[in-house]
Amino acid sequence: MSRVRLIVLQVLVAAIAVVLWYVLSTYKVFGKILLPPFFFSNPVDVASQIVDWFVSGVIWKHLWVTLEESILAFVLGSFGGVAVGFWFARQPRTAAVFDPYVKMVNALPRVVLAPIFTLWLGLGIWSKVALGVTLVFFIVFFNVYQGVKEVSPTVLANARMLGMSERQLMRHVYWPSALSWMFSSLHTSVGFAVVGAVVGEYLGSAAGLGYLIQQAEGVFDVAGVFAGMFVLAAFVIVIDTIVTLIERRLLVWRPLASDARP
């Protein structure tokens, strides 16, 4: 399938969905409106709400807050994950001691932590960052841990025979290996950073996309809820595209699945 054709088909899917939504929420079918506007709004209202946000400029503040929280959560969570992942992988005894607790905390649904973080850190951005960190940390941690442990023994033996000191091993072998594992989960961890931020905002905040959606919901403004969702979706797609570009740049040494040699 050519690129142009693909894009045309992708746009077509969106167009059909929007048209269906519009028709079913505006015109009666068999004497009944299938998508009552009270519950489903309609594309025109939602679009005008989005345009309104951007024209008046209200949305930028909220987008910025969510972006800020996501970035902070991602950076802090990644730092923690890399540090602890390295530490545990190089100190199997420590890892064994902490193992049940790591599993326990990881099994916990993070949403239940949100009220505690709000209590501790207030309604500002830090309670959202904290929620995002708890999500990002574990993904990065598990990947880095795996990455350090799964360095090929042959590559390691080779590195030692080539005269690498412990520090050089870190820099030339463990670090790149761990990073490659971390980057392979980049999409997931960035996604979770956004989830943490938005869910945190939704549960109690004064700004951000989650706040916007929650506010609209509070006054039964369904158009506002949908508008918030669409902006959020677009926001995530933009971030994901940036992540893909970064990934391509950093992992050039990796074989693509399509041109892998047997």
């Binding site: 042959t154 033996a157 030692r160 030339h172 040494w253 990796r254």
Partner: protein, 276 residues
């Protein structure tokens, strides 16, 4: 055995294994003796090939000479000094892929110098000449996954040789390659080796390859408790061409004699692994 009488290492030997045994502890209890009281010397500048059936502990012996594992008993001397840590005078070419996948071919070659404290710019310049010597001048910026198996081995060879080790340890380095590529790589190896004649310990299961390359062929018995059971001089003239030397009459006679001994061990080795 006559060999045990020469337990005292000769100072000139690049590698001297004396009465070396290796036993691995099994997880279910007990232990497995891979190699038993083996004595083997490689003189400086000598090319020695170790041939033996699969699973006879040839690679284990190489790892001991490299200092990657310590023998359960016996001693290892490198140029007359007992080996207690990693063998800093040896370069090791592994059987499996050992290149750093996140470095380009050039950086893979340069790294061996950088670890030794050579400035990065100089290391890369010297790596460039080595990449050219193994015939990959236009492939320096490729990552290992973009290279063929033979090209990766060339990079590996350059990676090891750029450090100018006194001893070269090779563990079936051309094992995974096809017959033609093996021949080309063998000739390349002999070509590079003849420039400064390092001591080489070359492990292979291919007797033809062993005879064609080396000055001495050492035969090991089937494991467990493998030992050296034969030691043959290869009186073929150098420089050699691996393709042509296999047509030589002397080559054939030697091959026949050694194979006669090796065959029995191969069959024994099979019986053991199949029976287990």
């Amino acid at each position: 055995m006559a060999a045990s009488a020469t337990a005292k290492p000769i100072p000139a030997s690049a590698v001297a294994l004396s009465g070396v045994s290796i036993a691995f502890r099994l997880t279910g209890g007990g232990s497995y003796t891979a190699v038993e009281r083996t004595t083997l010397t490689v003189a400086d500048g000598e090319f020695v090939a170790i041939v033996g059936p699969t699973g006879c502990g040839k690679s284990t012996l190489l790892n001991i000479a490299a200092g990657l594992i310590a023998p359960s008993s016996g001693r290892v001397d490198i140029f007359g000094t007992a080996l207690t840590t990693l063998n800093r005078q040896a370069g090791y070419l592994f059987q499996a892929d050992a290149l750093f996948p996140w470095k380009t071919a050039l950086d893979n070659v340069a790294i061996g110098l950088e670890t030794a404290g050579v400035l990065s710019s100089e290391a890369r310049a010297r790596a460039q000449t080595w990449v050219a010597r193994v015939g990959l001048s236009s492939f320096g910026d490729r990552y290992p996954h973009m290279l063929s198996g033979g090209q990766r081995k060339r990079v590996g060879l350059a990676q090891v040789l750029i450090r100018d080790p006194k001893i070269l340890l090779m563990d079936e380095p051309f094992g995974p390659l096809d017959a033609q590529t093996r021949q080309i790589m063998g000739n390349l190896l002999l070509d590079l080796w003849s420039a400064d004649r390092k001591a080489v310990l070359f492990v292979t299961h291919d007797l033809e390859e062993a005879i064609a390359l080396s000055d001495r062929v050492v035969i090991m018995s089937a494991g467990p408790a493998a030992r050296v059971i034969g030691d043959w001089k290869v009186p073929l003239a150098r420089p050699r061409d691996i393709g042509e030397i296999k047509l030589d009459h002397a080559f054939h006679e030697l091959h026949r004699d050694i194979w006669h001994m090796l065959k029995a061990e191969v069959i024994k080795g099979y019986a053991l692994t199949e029976g287990a």
